[in-house]
Every structure is written in C-alpha cells, then in structure tokens.
C-alpha cells in the first residue's frame, strides 16, 4: 500500500506542474555575486575582508556609514539624538572623514576588496526548512537611491554595536544620545554638536567612551551612576576626575531640561530601591550620553534565523558562534562587536581583527584552501565584570519606573512605562472602557516569561519607525521587573527585515521575473475558494474542479 502510493506520487509529481501561484519555479533577480560579503567596515570586518582578498577570494565589503544627515535624524543606525553638528550635512566631508579615520579602509581598497561605503544591508536570506526558492544565500543592499540583491557564498556579519536606551523625563529632547553615536560623531567625523555632556554609566565601556569624547574635545561635566560605586577601572575614573569630571555614584537623572534641546540635567541621590531622596542638583550641559549598556547589533542575524542567546559575558543577546565564528546558519559568520562586547575587546582592536581573520580561515578551510597562514586562536570572553542583568534592571527601575513624571519609553509610538506594564491599548484608540484595567501583564503570562513581541502588538511599544533600536532593551527590562524575573529570561524581541527602514520606491526596484508577475494573485489564486456559497458543488474532487476559473481573491 505504502509502496504503491509512493510510486503514484512520483508518477504524479513528474506530470502535474507545481501550483503556478506558488513560489515554485520563480527566480530571484540577483544583480551581483561575490564569494564573500562582509557587512561592516569596522576593525573585524576590515580584517576579514583584507584577509579574504589576500587569500584570493572575491570580496564585497559594505558599510552603511557615512549615513546622510537625514538618516541620522531618523536615528539610523544609531541613537544620534539630533546630536550631530552642521558638519554632518556635508556628505563629501563625512565620507572623507570616515575613510581618514580608519586607515584599514584604504588598505582594503589596496588589497582588492570591493569596498562600498554608504551601502546598507537590510536583509539576509537563505533557503531552509520553510524557504526553498532562493538561488542561495542572498543579501538585500541599498544606498540612497537604489536597492538590489547580491548573492554570496559566505557572509561575515560585522555589524558592530549600539547602546541600550534609557528613558527619563525629557529624554526625547535633542542632545540625549547613545555613547556609540556620540563617539562616532566626535571621533570619526568631528561632527558632534555638543560641547559639554553628562555621561550615564560607569562601566569600563562607559568610561572609555567618555575619555574618547574628551579627547575629541568634548567636556565631560559628570558621570552619573545609579550604583553606589563606579563599575569601571579606577585608573579611568582617576583620569576623568583629574580633568574635572564629577563622579556621581548613587545618583540618577530626574529630568533633562531645556527649551528646544538639552540645556541642563537635574539629578538626585537614590536609595537602595532606586527611589530618589534629598535635594536635586543641576548641571548645565548640552548633551546627555547614554552609556549604561553597549549591545551587539544582531538584527540581520536574528531576522535570518541565526541562534541568538542572552550571554552576559558578551553584553547581552549575541549570536551563538563557534571557534571559527560560525553561527548556526551555514556560511554565516559573526565577528567583532556584533558577536559579543567585552571591555578587553573594546580596548584592543586586535581581538576583533582576530575574529575576522578566524572567520576567513574557517571559510578557506571549508573551501579546501590550505596554506601556512597562522590562524589566531579563539579568545573566549572573560566572565562579565558586573551582573549586566541586575545592573540594567537597576537603571530602569531608578530612572524609568521611579521617574517623577511619565514619559514615552517608546518615542516613536509614544508609549509610557505604565502603559507597557498595564498592556494598555494605544492612546490613538481613545479607549474609555476601564473594564480592561484588570488586564495587566500578569494576565498575559500563563506560566512563561512575558514576551516583548506580544506586548509590542498590544501596546505598540517598539513598533515604530526606529524599529525598536531606542526602546527594546528598556521594554525587556520593564517586563523583567514587572514579572520579577531576570533580564535573561525575557525573550529577544524579534527583528524583521528590512532591518533598516526602506522606502517603497527603493524596495520596489528589485526586478520581478515575468512568470511571477503573470501569476501574481492577491491570495492563493484558487477559483474554488471564492465561489459564492450558493454556487458550490456538493462534492469536491480535483478532477471536477475548474482550476482555471476566474480568480479575484477577496
């Protein structure tokens, strides 16, 4: 019986064409091909690209920087907080500054790497259990005016880092920005439009950022830290103190004040529960730099299905990689900050560069290329210097939950912490029925931890145009606090392509195969599905069905 049915299946499969309305037989227009695509021209990505070119591979290296002034204004790819100066409008100057700030870019050109600056990767796609029609591993790329698909045999993702956002009243004002954005603007471009800033956070990462800013000419008025003692190295603290920076531990920001932009920060002391007490103090400044948690940029990796896990020693959610920097998806590698952030790696770029070279060595070995190049040994991150789960939760408790006034944790969709924790419908619905007040986080939970994607769909927190880059870690922390669970138990809010906002007019430039256009239908393209119920035959068989009947899926 079994045998007969399999034989029949085979006979059928050879005679019946696949559903023309499905993806079967459709092709994807690929504009260019490379043996290796490297995404991100930081130390790790450049090292990988140069190493691969040196081994004779065809390499395309893309980096979205320098992004345009407008794109920075949209908080892409970092939390710029309108902190850029007018210099950032001069695209040519920004391009020159970007290249000049990183000598290895020139080295990559010379090594024969096809370097594309100002080019973003908004999606990575591969065949798998639920996708089978792609030509292989493909990447969606775009610049200011175009988008296109590149097919690569291997992809090394070196997408870098960004910062956990942290809200307080007034945090939406221009001048509140992430440390990564601030350092990039100041050190790479000389385009930080802020002269005197307060830095939040005292980890070695935060202090390093503060010192980098100071070196680029920005005055660091104070370091504010909710913990009772600084987290980072005493030498860095001493270096900052020496130049007049106040180190304010056991303090939290109460408000960023100013008319059109940050003009001062109000802060106060906090007790062990994160509650403020005592007199508020004020420091005049034109910037507040968020440096409480650097986060690997895992958007492309997560969106394509790579395994991502909360790894405190790597700065939070980071891809699971092996000693060859392989992710669990074949031919996808992660290197540099996006594969894990720890202070030793931040201090010494050779560690990130070694990751890049190690990924290329793994690729070369996979291709059967043998040579006598020495592969740098894998370096595991040390144990985390502090409990990042407890630390980030303490910040969110003191700054967001104990805030003296409500503010929008999700700025794009204007959602407050209370609305997130009470799972309230968005305000534009003007929902007056207060019966729903008993529906809070606990009612959603069941026995599992709260899921930020579920809360997002109900409250819209994290659903906006910045694609959650400013609020997702805060939302996760709020849910952890609300459920009295550690941060690591809160699932990662899912990323979706395009991981950079992409205009319809640009996304639509990817050519479509004629056979797809010919058979395009709104829904499944089934004539039988839409026959009105008074016109349906009593029995359905494939033989008696008119599969070619008109279809207008409703």
């Amino acid at each position: 019986m079994q045998v007969i049915s399999i034989q029949a299946k085979c006979a059928m499969a050879s005679t019946v064409p696949p559903d023309p309305k499905s993806v079967a037989g459709k092709s994807l227009h690929v504009e260019e091909r490379a043996q290796l695509l490297v995404i991100g021209a930081g130390p790790a990505g450049l090292a990988a690209a140069i190493e691969a070119a040196g081994r004779g591979l065809s390499v395309v290296l893309v980096d979205e920087n320098p992004v345009s002034f407008k794109t920075m204004g949209d908080e892409v790819p970092l939390h710029y907080g309108q902190g850029m100066s007018a210099e950032a409008r001069n695209r040519n100057a920004m391009m020159e500054a970007f290249i000049a700030s990183e000598p290895q870019i020139e080295a990559a050109f010379e090594a024969g790497v096809d370097v594309r600056l100002g080019t973003a990767c908004w999606g990575l796609y591969a065949n798998g259990p639920a996708v089978t029609w792609l030509p292989g591993l493909v990447a969606g790329l775009n610049d200011e005016s175009r988008s296109w698909m590149l097919q690569a045999e291997h992809v090394v993702v070196a997408a870098g880092r960004r910062d956990m956002g942290l809200g307080f009243p007034g945090w939406e004002k221009p001048g509140v920005l992430g440390a990564t954005a601030a350092v990039s603007l100041a050190s790479r471009y000389g385009a930080l439009g802020r002269r005197r800033v307060v830095v939040l956070g005292s980890s070695t990462e935060a202090l390093t950022a503060a010192l980098n800013l100071r070196e680029a000419g920005t005055e660091i008025a104070a370091i504010i830290e909710q913990a009772q003692a600084p987290l980072g190295s005493p030498e860095l603290i001493a270096a900052l103190r020496k130049a007049g920076t106040e180190i304010l531990t056991g303090h939290v920001v109460r408000e960023a004040s100013g008319r059109d932009a940050v003009e001062a920060v109000l802060f106060s002391e906090i007790d062990g529960d994160g509650r403020s007490f005592g007199a508020e103090r004020i420091i005049s400044c034109d910037g507040i730099v968020l440096a409480i948690g650097a986060t690997p940029v895992v958007d492309l990796l997560d969106a394509m299905g790579c395994r991502i896990a909360f790894q405190p020693e790597r700065g939070g959610y980071a891809p699971v990689v092996d000693s060859g920097q392989r992710t669990n998806v074949r031919n996808i590698f992660a290197v540099g900050d996006c594969a894990g952030i720890w202070s030793g790696k931040t201090q010494d770029r050779a560690i990130a560069e070694a990751e890049g070279r190690r990924a290329v060595a793994a690729i070369a070995a996979g291709l059967g290329m043998t040579d006598d190049r020495v592969v740098p040994a894998a370096l595991e991150p040390p144990a985390p210097s502090h409990d990042i789960s407890a630390y980030r939760l303490a910040w969110v408790r003191a700054s967001v939950i104990e805030a003296r006034a409500e503010f929008h944790v999700c700025q794009c969709e204007e959602v407050t912490a209370r609305e997130i924790l009470e799972v309230r419908p968005p305000r534009y619905l003007d929902w007056k029925n207060e019966r729903r007040n008993d529906r809070s986080l606990s009612a959603l939970l069941g026995e599992e931890p709260p899921n930020p994607d579920q809360v997002k769909r109900l409250t819209r927190a994290g659903m906006g145009a910045c694609q959650g880059r400013r609020c997702r870690e805060q939302v996760a922390a709020l849910l952890a606090l609300g459920a009295a669970m550690p941060l690591s138990s809160i699932p990662l809010a899912g990323y979706r392509a395009p991981v950079r906002p992409l205009p319809l007019s640009i996304a639509g430039q990817i050519p479509e195969p004629p056979e797809q256009a010919e058979h395009w239908d709104t829904w499944f393209g089934m004539h039988a599905q839409w026959r009105p119920f008074w016109d349906v035959p009593e029995l359905y068989t494939v033989a008696t069905n008119d599969a070619t009947g008109p279809v207008a899926s409703e």
């Binding site: 019946v16 559903d19 065949n127 259990p129 992409l502 639509g508 119920f533 069905n545």
Partner: protein, 388 residues
Amino acid sequence: MSAIKGASVVIVGGGVTGLSAGWWLAREGVDVLVIEKGMIGWEASGRNGGGCSHHHSPLFLEEQRLWPKMDELLGYPTEFAGSRIRLASSEHQMALYGRALSNAARQGFKSEILDTRQIREFVPLAGDNMVGGYFYHFGGHANPHRTLQAYAWAMQDHGGRLMQHCAVTGFRSVGGKVTGVETERGLIACDHLVIAAGPHTGRLSAMLGHEVPMASARCEMVVTEPLPLMPYGGVDGNGLYGRQTLRGNLAYGGGPHEWLDIAGNAAPAKPTTPLMGHIGRRLAELLPKAAHARIIRSWAGVIENTPDGRPVIDRLDTQSNVVVATLSSVGFGLSPASGHAIRDLVMDGACSFADISSFRLARFAQLEPDWRELQGWQALAAEEALAA
C-alpha cells in the same frame, strides 16, 4: 496555574477561530478551556490583512452584523473600521473585482463604482494610474492581534480558561465519544471537543479517523511607517490585500505563497524573503503618494488550506461530540461568525443563523488521495538545510 482536570468544552487551538468559539461559549456560561501549544495568535491569526468583507461566504451576513458591535460585545478594542475600497490598475482587474458587487447585492448590500475623480477624493494617497475602483458599503478591517487578544480576555472575563504552551498529544474515546484530551500536562476530560488548530487540524483530526484534508503555506506581508490617515483605511487592490491601520501604517500582502510540510507540534519557521520588494512595488503603484514611505517590517505567516480553499465547520459522524473547524486561510474577518457557528454545533447540533452545508467535511468523500500532488501543492524539496 493549578492543574486543570477537565472542562465541559475543550477547544484545541488558540487562534482566532478557537478563541471566538471559546468566547461564544463562555458568555453563555459554558465551562470552556482553550488549549494552545504555544502562544495565542502566534500563527496566521495574529498576522493577516485584517479584512472583514467576505461576501462569498454563508457566514457573510453574520460577519457584517457583528463587526460593528464587536468592541462593545468583547469589551476590548478591535480597531474595526467599516467600508472598503478596492482599486484596479487594469480593466482585467476591474472586471474580476466587480464580482463582489453582484455577490453583495444579492445579499442586500450596496456598492458603488468609483471613477478616477472619486478615487482621488476617497483615497488621497492614490494617483492617476488606477483605471477604476469599487466602494463597498459593507465590510471593513480590524487589527488582528488586538482582536485575538480581545477574544481571549473577553472569554476569560466570562470564566473561560486558557492554557498556553501545552501541546495536545492524543485523544481518549469511549463509545463513539471523545472523553478526554491527552496533553503534555496530562489528561483533560471533556464533554465536547473542538479542534480548531489551524495547520495542525488535519493531523489532530486524523487521530480521530477523520482527517480534514489540508496543506499549509507561508505567505508574506510588509508594513510601512505611519502616514496621515486616509478617510477610509480599508483600501486595497492591484493584486494586494491589506489596509491602512488606525495608526496610519500601510500593512499589505499578496503574491506567491510557498507550500510547506508541517510536521509535529513544533511552530513552523516563518522566514520572509525578498518578495518584500515586489509587494512594495505594487503598494507604491496602488498608492503612489506613499512611495516615499519606508517599509519598517516584513513578516510571514503559515496558513492552512483545504483542497477547495473553503472552510470545514462540521461535527464528526462517528464522534458526535467533536467539532472540527478550519477557515482555510480566510479566518480572521469571519471569526465573529465562525465562533458563533461552532458554538451552535457544539450546543445545538446545527448552525442557527446560516446554511453551512457547504462547510461539511463529507464534500471530500470522493477526493483523490493524491489531491495535493494533483493540484501541484507539494512542498518543494529542501535544497539545503538551514542548520549547518
């Protein structure tokens, strides 16, 4: 949660159909339990076009009757907004879409043909490239996940229970009746069973000897950043379904689907593909003044279809206390009515408000066993495994 030993009605599947049925039963005081293997609405129910205008269905009148009052009935917002506009970019599309008018007219609903001037008036984001359109004085659209959660909360308000993260592994039957549902957390006794488990309905019904024939596919959608609200959000056409949400985002889908093999209880992977660009192009054609709008997400859902794409809502012949239900890829908009129909079949044995004989499982009595291959609905052979 304390261990649940049983319920009068156990519904397997926390999608929009099962939750609506649960709400209909709970509001009458029936002891109902919905069992969901993952999170409610995590498959196609929570991610679809949100349309509520199904004039081909016997549930249409009830769908139209209920939607305008669902917010009030449920006590939670659904974001329902009435009326619908469909635009055609060719005479061919215009002719095809026109069938809606005769279907609706026959059932007493009014529609109008729009000329290009009216299109500009009603659809500010449209251009001059559409040849015409239709305005339905019926139907509308709602927010899928918000509605789905509203069903769940409203059901719980009426005493219904929900058990998430619990997969069903089998059934116990005694003398032509199912007496219990075997789950990962033990046996749950029941007087009645409803299987409304989306793509898993076929596999689960097969355990009772009555496999609902179905195949599953992955479909994709895109959503843009918010734009100023148009007077009517329910605007689609040009080969797309979708809507402008009440927040202003454009959420649209369409185009080729991918047939899949769904095995076991695991949630199917739902990757998206570069089809996003092709959906984007059609959306920019449909609403040229939105061409600058940026896509901020794309997503995919896995949806089941019966061989004729029509629902099955039926009692089993041999186990009379079992109702099987699939809405065959068109379930969200019809959910207020499908839940009512399921409630009727469970409690009264027959649907009180519509002739749903076309939803009988028996229509497949003579279906070819290899129907899936004959229709070309096979899953494509995986060319390479995702996992290294």
